[in-house]
């Protein structure tokens, strides 16, 4: 059984304070703090590529646990802002970290649903291949594709990266089951066609209607009730979407994690960014729900147990 055992994260130091931009975008402080839920966004330096963000996250991971690089059987990067389209960013990370030649590397292209999808994919891949240890990176710095004058995106997205150490047969957070889905006909609602374009209303409506159903579907597969879930980790699209999904899905608000105030929507990194601190407090037998949704349009909900 493959489990998330440790998570390393990276947030660039440079901050943009949204509260200083209320006049520019004709919004008030309440909108910034209660609807968007992002007080500061983090911005990488221009020179930093996805692979550099991954390496920074790995340094954080290494500070938490001893890692023998020769034990790493696979290295996967989830990104839609790769260093280059060709080669895959995971190959560059492989070289930068000096991972062994036997290490399988590939990138998964997904947005906000990427972490949950990749956990399902890697769990299966590692299990079937008999792999013991894997690194799952998420790195999608939108600052390089953002139009900083676009109200729909410029107050929301922040840069960051994470790496999850996946280990077979170690105590950690393991998947029980998943629900996946796609609405490809809606792909133009969140697209990089020169710069990032988001139809905020459409993406909000999609998320608010789809995710509660996906949560029900995943719980149904697991044979669990909402009251069995210790905490809900929803993709941090904005405070308003997290609150709305929590309300529509009738989740206990005290168990719905929210924590993007100081860095923004980090796309596929949003869930592991929150999981990191909680992971070390989890107890055997506890069940958790992770749900990612967005670009595609795409969603994935997973039920996990700490074992």
């Amino acid at each position: 059984m493959v489990a998330i055992t440790h998570i390393g994260t990276y947030l660039p130091q440079k901050k943009i304070n949204n509260l200083e931009r209320t006049a520019e975008f004709s919004v008030d402080e309440n909108f910034i703090s209660e609807k968007i839920g992002v007080l500061n966004r983090r911005i990488k330096s221009q020179e930093q590529k996805a692979s550099d963000l991954c390496v920074e996250a790995f340094q954080d991971l290494k500070s938490q646990t001893d890692i023998n690089l020769d034990d790493i059987d696979c290295c996967v990067v989830v990104t839609q802002n790769p260093d280059y389209n060709l080669p895959h960013t995971s190959a560059i990370v492989h070289g930068l970290l000096d991972l062994p030649e036997s290490c399988a590397c590939f990138d998964i292209s997904l947005g906000c649903s990427g972490y949950v999808y990749a956990l399902a994919v890697l769990n299966a891949f590692m299990e079937v291949q008999g792999f013991r240890k894997g690194l799952l990176f998420t790195a999608d710095a939108y600052s390089s594709i953002l139009d900083e004058s676009d109200k729909n995106t410029a107050l929301i997205f922040g840069d960051g990266a994470t790496v999850s150490l996946l280990e077979n047969g170690k105590p950690g957070l393991s998947p029980i089951c998943f629900d996946f889905g796609s609405k490809g006909k809606g792909y133009k609602n969140l697209i990089n066609n020169g710069s990032l374009h988001m139809n905020g209303r459409m993406v909000f409506n999609f998320s608010a209607t789809t995710v509660p159903k996906s949560i029900d579907a995943a719980l149904g597969k697991a044979g669990l009730k909402k009251s069995n879930i210790v905490k809900w980790y929803l993709h941090q699209g904005s405070k308003y979407i997290v609150d709305t999904i929590a309300q529509r899905a009738e989740l206990d608000p005290a168990r719905v994690v929210f924590g993007m105030y100081d860095y923004g929507n980090t796309v596929s990194s949003s869930i592991p960014m929150l999981l990191k601190e909680d992971l070390i407090k989890m107890k055997s037998g506890e069940k958790y729900c992770l749900s990612g949704f967005g670009v595609g349009l795409s969603w994935a909900t997973g039920i996990f147990e700490f074992k």
Copy 2:
């Protein structure tokens, strides 16, 4: 057990005849036919995107077998030349084919090793998720990133796409085991940094030394000898690399498939392009070897059995 049951392919009609370019590149006909092994390259229209090539390949698949779209549980596109970096191309294909909302979609970013890697990933993912049917697309049209005056690439790469229908519990070609590897420190030898750049000598040397070892490793895992393999499907990088690997690995030349003369190196599509016709002639119990290598640098070798 997940198996490849049918393969659809697409090659654009437009051809560039390499034999008409011997003077331009100061090469002779023998070099074109015996070293490169590409007489014609296929070129897509400028308007065609990766998703369009996928849809064309799907039409070919549909002409071979009845497909109920509602049965498709997952749709994966292997590409490093996506329609957009964001969203994933598989979402666009999902919309164009009108696949069901329950269909899991993601892209895998890999080059010439992509098909073999993706078969391993999807086999595991479908097995663990209990998925019955999946579509695995490969679509990497290099014409849009090629410098047509670059001798290292302009006589080699051609456009094309394929789709493999993967079915659980049906007769077809199923994986036994895999060998994977990466040399990320060599990533600059094959890169799109504005346009495609290939250090042909380095990529050749890497392939000629790595792939024979990978074949041995995969056979060793499977407990098989070279004489057990009915046919070898090596990535069609060029005729010279296929011949060299066959010689160094001491493969029976009569069993090493070669077939890129009329379309060129189609990257991740090169192996399924050849498998398509052979698949319908395969018999139960026969073992086959597929090996992809290139961009990354990356390689994957799989041993398969027709069951």
